[in-house]
Symmetry: C2
Subunit: 145 residues, 2 copies
DNA sequence: TCTTGACATAAAGTTAGCTTTAGGTATTAA
DNA sequence: TTAATACCTAAAGCTAACTTTATGTCAAGA
């Protein structure tokens, strides 16, 4: 069993944030001692790991809360939970794809400014890429349907 | 030359958002016609593509604004701009790594709930992974130093 | 006994990034 | 000529996810 201070260090999360998660219903099974002090067990730690993961993947607190609620309703919510994770898997895969597109643009910009730095100005490198971006990168950023 | 409505459709961004970017100083070179109506040129479109990319990679408006400011100061800010992109490249690479960790967890959960769904309950699959998570996934989420 | 440190609560405050509202102008179509 | 449409501004409002503040309890050490 751990105190909130220990968990705070373990997860590198401020104490008020942990209390906030508790208040929002993300830590349903959290016990208290006789004087009201929170006692975190291994279950709660697992839950926090999952919360961190879902937050990192862009899920909102209220949706995480909904999921936690399903968990406490037992076997009849298993399919819902599975669907939720399948959807979240897709979300993450899309986010990774988007970040890879952004990375291509940023890498081009790194190259561009390295050349410009060598020359002391942007003249030459600007003339090599007259429309601002090379075609392959431009295509990644075209939104027209 | 394009109107704000055309750009809104082109980028799939609400008109007020584009005006907000302009107000915040992200579109320094944006011209107006004699009656004050914004006229977007190809330069502005390039800038918007870059803004979208930087936003997607998690950069804040105020930092994007700072970068745009550097651009208008000419050659003496080339190194600064290069450094900015190098840092941003690292940021994106880290974000991708974090998302890949999250993905590993989510994929485990997908597997877990598929098994549970087959069985109609979590009993068996819980007994296969008694500590909540398999070791390899757990390790990804350990924050202790 | 007194003070220190770690815990507790409720409620107000903060920040980013929009979004909405209210009111006005200018051009075109009927 | 009127009505619709697309633009404009300033300012207020909104939401999520904390964070801070003010106040209080409790157990252990000097």
């Amino acid at each position: 069993m751990y105190t909130i201070g220990e968990i705070s260090k373990m997860f590198n999360l401020p104490i008020p944030t942990l209390r906030y998660y508790d208040k929002e219903g993300l830590l349903l099974e959290l016990e208290r001692d006789k004087s009201g002090i929170r006692k975190f067990n291994n279950q709660n730690i697992e839950t926090l790991r999952l919360i961190e993961c879902l937050k990192k993947s862009g899920m909102q607190i209220k949706d995480i809360k909904e999921f936690i609620g399903w968990c406490s309703l037992g076997d009849k919510t298993i399919s819902k939970r599975k669907e939720m994770f399948l959807k979240q898997k897709e979300n993450i895969e899309n986010q990774i794809k988007e970040l890879e597109k952004a990375l291509a643009m940023i890498e081009f910009k790194c190259w561009y400014y390295e050349e410009a730095e060598k020359d002391g100005n942007e003249k030459r490198v600007k003339s090599i890429t007259p429309n601002g971006l090379p075609e392959n990168i431009k295509k990644l950023y075209e939104n027209a349907h």
